[in-house]
């Protein structure tokens, strides 16, 4: 009776619709995927003898290679973005002044165009006789090999697509560093590098960590860049999962791959969040 009364207090009561929505729209599909990962290969019935064959198959075949590619490319994307975005974030916060809003807008605008359209745009840019090579040829008579359909271009595409997801949390992080604190460090004899290392970086860390996680999780799930720009030269794990669920009609294998991916990414996120406890960084603990 008590418990029932608790549920019907206004707070929990008003949360019910959202809870139901999350349960049906998020938890249920996820649980289904996890369950499918345990049923025999190439079957569609959930209610049969569960086993670990799908996982065994993954570890005994070369299916780990797409994992490595996905994680590796995602890690590379994050690192490249960190190097590109920190100076921009710093500039937006401290240097550009009245132009900061305009520059931020420039970085935001591409988000209003569909990711696929933007990626196909790059094809037109890099393709033989396209914008880049065509111009070089007609203007200078120079005809280099096209870099389209290479792993490098896949990486470039990922860096390009996920840039805002690194830039904006990072800008927020950098803007949380009080100017007086930086001045104080400088005034106490710190060099520019020491100010960066001792004050800028640790105090901007919450934004940086969020940017890292956001881009990493998104980049691990990237598929279009490798397919379109990379010309399937490498197969990311997402593409394997897609194939398993579609052409191959092997839902249990696809489910097992998905579960593994979630485990890897989930563990990583938890470890990072534990290592960089946001509250501690912000001095709230």
């Amino acid at each position: 009776m008590d418990r029932l009364a608790k549920i019907f207090r206004p707070g929990p009561r008003h949360a019910i619709p959202v809870m139901l929505f999350l349960l049906l729209g998020f938890v249920a599909p996820l649980v289904t995927v996890v369950m499918y990962s345990f049923v025999p290969s190439r079957t569609f019935d959930l209610w049969q003898d569960w086993n670990l064959d799908n996982y065994a198959e993954i570890f005994n075949s070369s299916s780990y290679i797409p994992f490595v590619w996905s994680l590796g490319l995602a890690a590379a994307t994050v690192l490249i973005l960190a190097v590109i975005c920190y100076p921009v974030a710093f500039g937006i916060t401290r240097v550009f002044g009245k132009y900061a809003t305009f520059i931020t807008l420039l970085f935001t605008l591409p988000l209003f165009v569909s990711e696929n359209v933007r990626i196909y745009g790059w094809i037109l840019f890099f393709i033989k006789n396209g914008v880049l090579l065509g111009s070089l040829k007609s203007m200078f008579g120079y005809e280099p090999e096209s870099i389209l359909f290479t792993t490098g271009l896949t990486l470039m595409g990922m860096v390009y697509v996920y840039l805002p997801f690194m830039l904006f949390p990072m800008t927020l992080g950098v803007s949380m560093v009080p100017q007086q604190t930086r001045d104080a460090a400088f005034d106490l004899g710190a060099t520019r590098w020491q100010v960066f290392k001792e004050v800028d970086l640790p105090l901007a860390m919450p934004g940086i960590v969020i940017g890292f996680l956001l881009t990493f999780v998104l980049a691990v799930g990237a598929i279009a860049e490798a397919k379109v720009l990379g010309g399937q030269r490498i197969i990311p794990i997402t593409q394997d999962i897609e194939t398993a669920f579609t052409y191959a009609q092997n839902w249990p294998l696809g489910a097992a791959l998905s579960v593994l991916l979630m485990l890897v990414v989930g563990t990583l996120v938890l470890v990072v969040l534990r290592r960089f406890d946001l509250d501690t960084i912000l001095g709230k603990k």
């Binding site: 007086q180 104080a184 460090a185 005034d187 106490l188 004899g189 001792e198 001095g283 603990k285």
Partner: protein, 354 residues
């Protein structure tokens, strides 16, 4: 307090666009003195301080430290240190790490660093257990001391203060003002302090410089600033004061604009046309007969305010409001709306211009 100048400003100027935030300031700071620059917001005191610390480059003029020009020396190369308005402590570091920061930057080994930090903590009455306490967990007064300890650890020749007490409640501020003066005495370093509160400046300083509109309008000891302000602006700055608009009437006296009375003054300078007569509330007296003071006015007792050790009275002469202040023991026994005589001697008043 005359000594060797440690820091000299020569026609120091900083302009932002067409605005001169600091306008041709000439000033010598003496070794070991506690100098306070006072001014309202927008008077240029913060810009001046930023130039002295090296965070802002002067547009023209010179800053000489012990005779050497340091205009272009960046803040991290100057033997000076500042306590910021926000204190600017490092929130991700402990009390000890904050204090040791400058030593760490210099590459001093951890043991020496810790010893020095603990020494400073005991000097500033911070308990030793605070060494590993997070600064964000400290109270306002403790953070103040950490900031001061951090600055002292740098062993600066000059310590600058940018209104560090402005955000602290009254009672604690009063305590810290005195503590800061004690620390100044113990360390013997040159302290240069800026504030908008002349009251704060009075308590702590050896000398005070008053700034207005980018210019230094008066420099002197607290007593001089209080008793001999050069302008209406300076006299008003100390809080309650009676200011009477007056015009010269060709004699040794001046005429009050508002209520027409002729008032005796110390001396009317040559060419004085119009200005203000300044009388401190404690210089005003209640009289029983008109001839008890050189200037006497009849007014109406409007209100009284008990200020603890002192009592303040508001007396209206025509539309002009006078403030009279007495020690509590010598309180005036009048009642509201009583007709009263108030007066003062010519020597207790100062004639100033705008």
């Amino acid at each position: 307090m005359t000594g060797v100048p440690i820091l000299q400003l020569r026609s120091l100027t900083k302009t932002f666009g067409s605005l001169a935030a600091v306008d041709k300031i000439d000033l010598d700071f003496d070794e070991g003195e506690f100098f306070t620059i006072v001014g309202p917001s927008g008077s240029g005191k913060t810009t001046l301080l930023r130039m002295l610390t090296g965070m802002e480059t002067p547009t023209s003029g010179e800053i000489l430290l012990r005779g050497k020009r340091i205009n272009d020396l960046p803040a991290n190369k100057r033997p000076t240190c500042m306590v910021f308005q926000s204190l600017a402590l490092f929130p991700h570091r402990s009390v000890g790490q904050n204090i040791e920061f400058s030593l760490k930057m210099k590459g001093v080994d951890p043991a020496t660093r810790k010893a020095r930090a603990l020494e400073l903590m005991s000097q500033l009455r911070l308990p030793e257990s605070y060494y590993s306490k997070n600064v964000t967990k400290c109270s306002g007064g403790e953070r103040q001391r950490v900031a001061l300890a951090r600055a002292l650890a740098y062993e600066p020749d000059i310590l600058f203060f940018d209104e560090p007490l402005s955000a602290i409640d009254y009672k604690l501020r009063k305590t810290l003002e005195k503590e800061l003066k004690d620390i100044h005495r113990e360390t013997g370093k040159t302290f240069i302090y800026i504030t908008h509160s002349l009251e704060e400046a009075m308590v702590m300083s050896d000398r005070i410089g008053v700034m207005r509109g980018g210019k230094l309008i008066q420099v002197g000891s607290p007593q001089e600033i209080y008793s001999a302000p050069h302008t209406k602006f300076v006299s008003e700055f100390i809080g309650d004061v009676n200011i009477i608009g007056v015009t010269a009437d060709g004699t040794a006296q001046v005429k009050a604009k508002e209520f027409g009375a002729s008032l005796k003054t110390p001396a009317v300078p040559e060419g004085f046309g119009a200005g203000y007569l300044v009388v401190r509330p404690e210089s005003l007296r209640f009289l029983s007969k008109a001839d008890e003071a050189q200037n006497c006015l009849e007014g109406r007792l409007y209100n009284e305010y008990v200020l603890g050790s002192r009592v303040q009275y508001q007396v209206r002469v025509g539309d002009h409001v006078f403030i009279v202040e007495k020690l509590r023991q010598q309180a005036f026994g009048g009642h509201r709306d009583d007709k009263v005589l108030i007066g003062w001697d010519a020597d207790d008043s100062i004639l100033v211009t705008d």
